[in-house]
Symmetry: C2
Subunit: 198 residues, 2 copies
DNA sequence: TTATATTAACTAATGACATTAGTTTTTGCA
DNA sequence: TGCAAAAACTAATGTCATTAGTTAATATAA
């Protein structure tokens, strides 16, 4: 059945991740990948649907790993602590895997079933973490979007060297998360005051 | 001195912006640009230093426009109102010019003098707006980073369709900014309480 | 008015890609 | 032992960016 198996998907993905993280996502080409794997580039078509297929697989792989570290970060925790650890895990992942993180957000096809499934699971995870803040109705979902915006924004700008200031990045990040949490508490307070105006 | 002037930098930039905003930044190639301008691609080298030069100019152009709309948004305003308008102007720009906004953040050379100058001016603008919160020392700069993270994160995810949820984006954004502002007020309160603990 | 220098835009050529078609080769199983 | 499946290959095509060298238009000086 199966003839010379030199390549397989895991090996291809690992090599692609290595290139992405060290040289940048744009450098992940079928040519560079084939060279690294000591193979001719058309051979890759037996495992992956061209460059765009590779990028899809890379995106899915990255989302899986990201969801995993986020999940690990919140088990056994709740409230502010859980959010803080979640945030730390998120930026740590982006720092450790800049290229893979990038791939995560440039899925050629956002309608891809796998991508949607993983995105959904990630949202669920964060919703559960934010449940502690007793946000009503859609507020929890809006808060998920907000938290994700802030995490992604920070990671993205950090990666692009978008912060020209000579200022400790970890301090900036901690303050940002703390400010968001303080705001969340305040919003909760307000909505409760509104619902129950002594 | 000057022979047949069919092209000039403004025309080139305008065409590039059009392609970027309608088809995406990746579609801005010397080939597509030349076709749109009815010229052969090597001709572009007389005005721009190759593809990377074009991207640099595009980034600078985008930063200039972004700084301009941000500046217009805050004149005559202060405090929360100024921050809210600043935020609205930021996401409105990203929505109106998705490709150009993208170019803004993928400057091939973040060390480029023009890019650094504009980035500096933008930081200055936001610092002035945040002065109202009387943040001490570096806190103001950290807050600038935070605000920028959140604005960029939201815009970027919105563009990439990263929000799978069927939820009003404008509401999400307003809540995010409000949460940040509430947090900022709370942080200010805390630092004052600490400095002057009755 | 004419000649020249300047320089924009051109053609031609090269090399890096992705991709497709068609061929070779390995290997599991009958 | 032989055959079918499929992995990896070679060859070819087309799209890019980029460089070298050529042509041609025009502003200015004579």
């Amino acid at each position: 059945m199966s003839p010379r198996i030199g390549l397989d998907l895991p090996a291809i993905l690992q090599a692609a991740v290595e290139i992405a993280d060290t040289r940048g996502l744009e450098e992940v080409t079928l040519a560079s990948l084939a060279q690294k794997l000591d193979v001719r580039s058309p051979s890759l078509y037996n495992h992956v649907n061209g460059l765009s297929g590779l990028r899809s697989k890379l995106a899915v792989h990255g989302l899986e790993k990201l969801l995993h570290v986020m999940t690990q970060a919140v088990v056994g925790r709740s409230g502010d602590e859980a959010v803080r650890e979640l945030g730390k895990a998120y930026v740590a992942f982006a720092r450790a895997h800049p290229g893979l993180y990038d791939a995560t957000l440039r899925a050629p096809d956002p309608q891809d079933a796998e991508v949607r499934r993983l995105a959904g699971e990630t949202v669920d995870l964060v919703v559960r973490v934010l449940r502690a803040y007793e946000l009503k109705d859609d507020a929890a979902l809006h808060a998920v979007r907000g938290l994700r915006s802030l995490l992604h924004g920070f990671s993205s700008l950090e990666q692009r060297g978008g912060f020209g200031l000579p200022l400790d990045l970890d301090v900036s990040f901690r303050l940002l998360v703390d400010t968001f949490l303080a705001g969340l508490h305040e919003m909760k307070r307000r909505s409760q005051a509104e619902a129950n105006p002594n």
